[in-house]
């Protein structure tokens, strides 16, 4: 082999060593980025991303539980309100009963006043007034009864709506957290393995490049 050929070969091998060095640097760079992700325009470590993911999942679980708790609280409150309205309704019925008796009493008083003749005339006026008051109370009781019925209907509708939320089982949403965590762990493991393999390859390329340079050095001296 002539000196020129020798120099050419040495130059080519040296160039290959340079390429190997470059490859090693690139592999190192890729291995470094393997455990990072771009999230919301930020380069963050996978460990940090995992924590962020975990905290988002925890937040979702908390929201599901809060919704379930509030829905059940609303169910109990509406049931209590319906119960209290029922009691109010029976009070109105009692008022109507008493009013009926008052009405009968005023009728009896009117009859007795008529029997008493002139002496009972003023008493008849009082009896008429009592009857008028009784009729007013009756109308009021009737209005209250209808109003209570309206409120009961509204509460029943609200109860039906909240029932739909309360009976919706969100257990699967809660269990999804476990699956997502497992998927995330698997992804991180995979990335760590890739990073590890890349680093190993970078090391091999670097060693190879150094060995070639050493051989060239020994050969030229």
């Amino acid at each position: 082999m002539t000196n020129i050929e020798n120099e050419h070969l040495s130059h080519e091998i040296s160039r290959m060593a340079g390429i190997l060095r470059l490859q090693s640097d690139q592999l190192y760079e890729i291995s470094q980025s393997a455990d990072h992700v771009i999230y919301q325009h930020k380069n963050i470590a996978l460990s940090e991303f995992s924590e962020l993911f975990q905290s988002t999942l925890n937040n979702s679980v908390d929201q599901v539980l809060l919704t379930a708790k509030l829905a059940m609280d609303m169910v109990f409150t509406l049931k209590q309100a319906t119960k209290q309205l029922g009691a109010l309704e029976s009070f109105v019925v009692d008022i109507q009963k008493i009013n009926k008796q008052t009405n009968l009493l005023s009728l009896n008083a009117t009859i007795e006043a008529m029997r008493a003749g002139d002496e009972g005339k003023s008493f008849a006026v009082v009896a008429e007034e009592v009857k008028a008051v009784s009729l007013t109370i009756n109308r009021l009781a009737q209005s209250m009864y209808l109003k209570i019925d309206d409120i009961t209907q509204s509460i029943r509708k609200a109860f039906d709506t909240v029932n739909k939320v309360a009976t919706k089982d969100m257990t699967q949403n809660l269990l999804a957290q476990e699956k997502l965590e497992s998927m995330m762990r698997s992804l991180i493991r995979k990335n760590q393995n890739i990073g590890h393999v890349l680093q190993e390859n970078a090391k091999i390329s670097e060693n190879l490049s150094q060995e070639i340079n050493q051989i060239i050095g020994e050969h030229s001296s």
Binding site: V64, L65, D73, F76, K168, D169, T171, N173, L174
Partner: protein, 98 residues
């Protein structure tokens, strides 16, 4: 939901089968009965509980909210599936799990 044996300051409650929305009436009655007492300890026995859904979890949290903070509430004997959901939802941080 059954309030089983009770002592003066300590109530024992046993949940069995499924604890879901369908149990809300008996839960409400038990809770109202508990609120009438001055309790220091409430133990909820979950050893016969097969399933709990989100409404059931909501009711347990509601119980924690309604019962005074100084009353200690513990959950005991939870089976694997129930324990898993209690842990996943971090209810083990709200109640003492035995």
């Amino acid at each position: 939901m059954n309030t089983q044996k009770t002592q003066d300051k300590h109530a024992h409650i046993k949940l069995s089968g499924r604890f879901t929305y369908n149990e809300h009436e008996s839960f409400q009655n038990s809770l109202e009965a508990l609120l009438e007492r001055e309790l220091t300890e409430v133990t909820i026995d979950l050893s016969s509980l097969k399933f709990i859904d989100s409404a059931g979890l909501g009711m347990l949290l509601l119980m924690r909210d309604k019962i005074p903070a100084h009353t200690h509430i513990s959950l005991s004997g939870a089976q694997e599936q129930v324990r898993k959901i209690l842990t996943l939802t971090h209810l083990d941080q709200v109640f003492t799990l035995h």
